[in-house]
């Protein structure tokens, strides 16, 4: 009789085991598109530094349907990432108290959205003012 031993399960195909794992991969994966978009913006900035012709060339590339598709995908990924990020925000905060009470998760998420929209709106208004 052989010696008693244990069976050690593997992680092969782990994402197939539960939809929660696939949602997690989608959430984390959406940041890849955000990273690509940031690189694209950085390329534009470098083109701007290189001179007017280079910057115009970078801008002209935007006529391509491929790039339009990528921008649309990045926008959707950014929206999805933002929604999930704000949803997880209450889990990552230490225990908060406000007037002797702990704010609900919903209040924290809503507050974060309000601050985010206000800041984004501020930047938007500043940029519009700059263009004018």
């Amino acid at each position: 009789m052989s010696r008693a031993r244990v069976y050690r399960p593997t992680m092969r195909g782990w994402w197939e085991r539960h939809p929660a794992y696939r949602r997690y991969l989608l959430r984390e994966g959406s940041s890849v598109l955000l990273g690509l978009y940031a690189l694209w913006l950085l390329a534009g900035l470098l083109a701007l530094a290189a001179g007017e012709a280079a910057y115009q060339g970078w801008r002209d590339l935007h006529g391509s349907p491929w790039l339009f598709g990528l921008h649309l995908a990045a926008l959707l990924a950014a929206a999805y990432h933002a929604v999930t990020w704000f949803r997880l925000l209450p889990l990552t905060l230490p225990v908060l108290r406000w007037r002797g009470r702990r704010p609900t998760d919903r209040a924290v998420v809503r507050g974060a959205w309000v601050v985010s929209v206000a800041l984004s709106g501020g930047v938007w208004l500043y940029l519009l003012g700059g263009v004018r």
Binding site: M1, S2, R3, A4, R5, V6, Y7, R8, P9, M11, W14, R17, H18, A20, Y21, Y24, E28, L88, P90, L91, T92, L93, P94, V95, G100, R102
Partner: protein, 254 residues
């Protein structure tokens, strides 16, 4: 209530001396609407196959012994009903991510060793004599940690954590939730002692907030929150260490 209803339980079998890896075995079990999956397993053991091995004790979701994967979901077998899986088959296997000793019995010694490292007990700021009275706490202060105190060490959260599956060094959701239970207790002054566990690579930073641990917890403990509540403080300590290299060297030399 019809006694003639039957459901198939497909149970993962593993005999350490005969099997190289687990195999599935099916059993047709008569059931009534009030029967839990655990009672189905007990029926198999009592009437169909006495060699089927599984842990159980209280039958009421408090001892944390009968955790297993049921249709791919970590569950307490006593906490789910056969009727909800009709017409079946119900797939029952050992808790994921743990070494399997036999059939549905896993080796939980890794968790027990980790539990010993997190100082999961009250460490008061100073000794008190009986004459000085008890350590008092308001109901409001108790709400800070009460949910985390509900942990029954059933290990469903470990079976729901792919990070633990990948990196068995990770202290893991259950033990870290118990750590946070004492960190948040107003009578406790041992947080600093627990920083070494929290701040380590195998501590809260091995968690990537998959979040499934909190979804499967049968006691509503929310380990994902317990772990991630520690990240702001841990980041601050890392930053302070970085700003004061002398201190970092001191701690590193322990």
């Amino acid at each position: 209530m019809s006694e003639s209803q039957r459901i198939t339980l497909a149970v993962q079998r593993f005999h350490p001396e005969q099997d190289a890896e687990p195999r599935w075995q099916r059993y047709a079990v008569p059931y009534t609407p009030d029967m839990s999956v655990l009672e189905g397993l007990q029926y198999i053991k009592d009437h169909l196959d006495g060699s089927l091995t599984f842990r159980w004790s209280c039958r009421m979701a408090i001892c944390g012994s009968c955790g297993c994967m049921i249709d791919g979901e970590p569950e307490l077998a006593c906490h789910v009903f056969l009727r909800d899986y009709a017409p079946g088959p119900v797939w029952v296997s050992a808790l994921d991510h743990f070494p399997v000793q036999r059939d549905l019995v896993i080796d939980q010694s890794d968790f027990l060793e980790k539990l010993e490292t997190v100082h999961a007990y009250l460490i008061p700021a100073g000794e008190r004599t009986a004459a000085e009275g008890t350590y008092r706490q308001t109901p409001e202060q108790m709400t800070d940690y009460y949910a985390y105190a509900q942990c029954i060490n059933c290990l469903l959260c470990y079976a729901a954590c792919p990070q633990y599956g990948w990196h068995p060094d990770f202290v893991g959701p259950g033990a870290l939730a118990l750590l946070q239970r004492y960190n948040l207790d107003s009578r406790d002054a041992g947080s600093e002692l627990r920083h070494a566990v929290v701040d380590a690579e195998q501590g809260v930073w091995s968690c990537t907030l998959v979040g499934h641990c909190s979804e499967v917890c049968p006691k509503g403990v929310d380990p994902a929150r317990a772990i991630n509540q520690n990240k702001p403080g841990s980041s601050a300590r890392y930053l302070l260490d970085w700003l004061r290299p002398g201190r970092r060297r001191q701690e590193g030399s322990e």
